[in-house]
Amino acid sequence: MATDKKISGIGALLIVLGLLVILTPWVLFPVCEVEGLYLKTAAGMQIPMKCGWTARAETGVGALIMVAGGLLVVRSTPETRQAVGVFSAAAGILVILFPTFLIGMCAVADHPCRQLTLPALEVLGVIVVLIGAYLIWKGGNE
């Protein structure tokens, strides 16, 4: 019973982390376009920089992490733990890979996305991966 409560708590933690992944690039440590920095095309059109596309991708991954956390809250069988663990670990890796390799951030070091959004997403990604690894281990030991 105590273990079930603990696992539900981890599910709630995943929901919070997913929400933080969504809020980080838009509200907490905003990317360049939120600060009014855009790329200008030759025709004068403003388009988001790379960090803007990363922010959009992180919104999707953050929502999926929230769903995984919700699943763990309502059903905490060993199989669910393992499945959510694998999924969270993979999602956490994506949270790190989107701003670093898959899409990237602005190349200019003094842009807000490089100074705060990127490290904050890396920290969140690592926490989600660690929780995923714990759930896989916990699921396998039951």
Partner: protein, 403 residues
């Protein structure tokens, strides 16, 4: 004791530690905090110092001479590369090359470019005189394939463009021919061009740029000086300031003092935290060790009755403390390194200091120092419990020990 097949000291230590997970986690956390804060303070100071060394090496100068009104602006160009434009009021700076002790003197012009968009943000343009320059010419010697001709520029590592491509400043198109290595200083945010090209760019700016650039002819923003071998840069700098009125000199030592001034608050906070945590931790860890030793009294007494020596028991208690200190320190140092690396850009821009990740050797030395200090604290905290437990007789412990 002589025939204990399968008995391993490390296994005994491991089992003892596994019996008290929550208390050990708290102890590990305390050691992580001590090692992490101490390591961070050293990491920041060494990162700034090595960055400044790399920047001064890139510049190749012993002294930088600037107009007296622009001492701070000159320091900023070197430290952070914050774009600025300034000039001497007259051409008197030429006297500098004739001052005794000056081996080489080369003028430079500092021009802040205009803000265009994300990828052409304002940067510091530094115009050099190819005849006398020893900043870029030294880099060109190391990169023999690169030639700096008409409209060619060499860019710092933070300027985003590949060699062979173009960059536009004040409506004038320049060709990127090389990228300098990262130094962590203002050099990384600078673009190097020739005097002649800067004059052409300024001449065209009225028609091509949103704002006209005015560069006074035959004027410089700063003069870089290399002193003769054996001469003291400080003495030569004093002589320059005395003989050429209206000038101020910037030396590497002065820059380091400026950087230390910027860093002082942060390093003081980190070192103060480490000292505070250490001062609070030693008696607390001593108390925890004493409680643990008291709980283990019966086990230890049985070990003693089986023939374990006082040295063995002492080593057992110390090994447990050292293991916690080492695990905690490694976690603390690892997490601190990770945070300092991922927040490198934020540190550089918020503290306005030159900063690069220190060399691997420096990181190892800093980490080793923090680890040793944690082990020393663990040893100090274990003195009292070791003293108490080795003084008691085995039969006392078996009779009174906690079961």
């Amino acid at each position: 004791m002589s025939n204990l097949s399968g008995f391993r000291f490390s296994k005994l230590v491991g089992r003892n530690l596994a019996n008290r997970p929550y208390r050990n986690i708290a102890t590990i956390f305390a050691f992580a905090l001590i090692a992490g804060t101490l390591f961070s303070s050293q990491f920041l100071s060494n990162g700034a110092e090595q960055s400044l060394d790399a920047g001064m090496d890139r510049l190749g100068a012993d002294i930088m001479v600037v107009p007296d009104k622009y001492l701070f602006a000159g320091q900023t160009v070197l430290l952070t590369g914050e774009p600025t434009t300034f000039f001497f009021e007259d051409a008197g700076f030429e006297e500098i090359s004739r001052i005794p002790g000056v081996a080489k003197a080369s003028p430079q012009m500092y021009i802040a470019t205009l803000f265009a968009s994300c990828c052409a943000a304002p940067v510091q343009m530094i115009a050099i005189d190819p005849e006398t320059d020893f900043t870029i010419s030294a880099w060109l010697v190391d990169n023999p394939g690169v030639k700096m001709g008409e409209d060619d520029i060499i860019i710092g590592s933070n300027i985003i463009q590949d060699p062979g491509k173009e960059l536009m400043f004040y409506g004038h198109i320049f060709h990127v021919v090389g990228t300098l290595d990262q130094t962590g200083t203002g050099m990384d945010n600078s673009v190097f061009t020739r005097f002649e090209d800067a004059y052409v760019m300024a001449g065209e700016s009225g028609a091509k740029a949103v704002k006209k650039l005015n560069i006074p002819r035959e004027m410089a923003s700063a003069v870089l000086v290399k002193v003769e071998p054996g001469m003291s840069p400080e003495a030569v700098a004093d002589e320059i300031e005395r003989q050429v009125p209206g000038t101020r000199t910037i030396l590497p030592n002065g820059l380091m003092s400026a950087v230390n001034g910027q860093l002082a608050a942060v390093t003081l906070l980190l070192e103060g935290s480490a000292v505070a945590v250490t001062v609070v931790s030693i008696p607390l860890l001593g108390l925890v060790s004493a409680l643990v030793a008291n709980e283990q009294k019966k086990d230890i007494s049985i070990l003693r009755a089986l023939g374990a020596t006082k040295g063995f028991v002492t080593w057992l208690i110390l090994a447990e403390s050292f293991a916690l200190a080492i695990i905690g320190s490694i976690i603390g140092i690892g997490v601190a390194t990770w945070f300092l690396v991922i927040y490198q850009d934020f540190i550089t821009f918020s503290l306005k200091i030159p900063f690069i990740i220190p060399s691997n050797l420096t990181i190892l030395a800093e980490g080793g120092g923090a680890l040793l200090l944690s082990v020393a604290i663990a040893g100090t905290a274990s003195i009292y419990p070791v003293f108490r437990i080795t003084r008691s007789e085995p039969y006392e412990g078996i009779g009174r020990g906690v079961s």
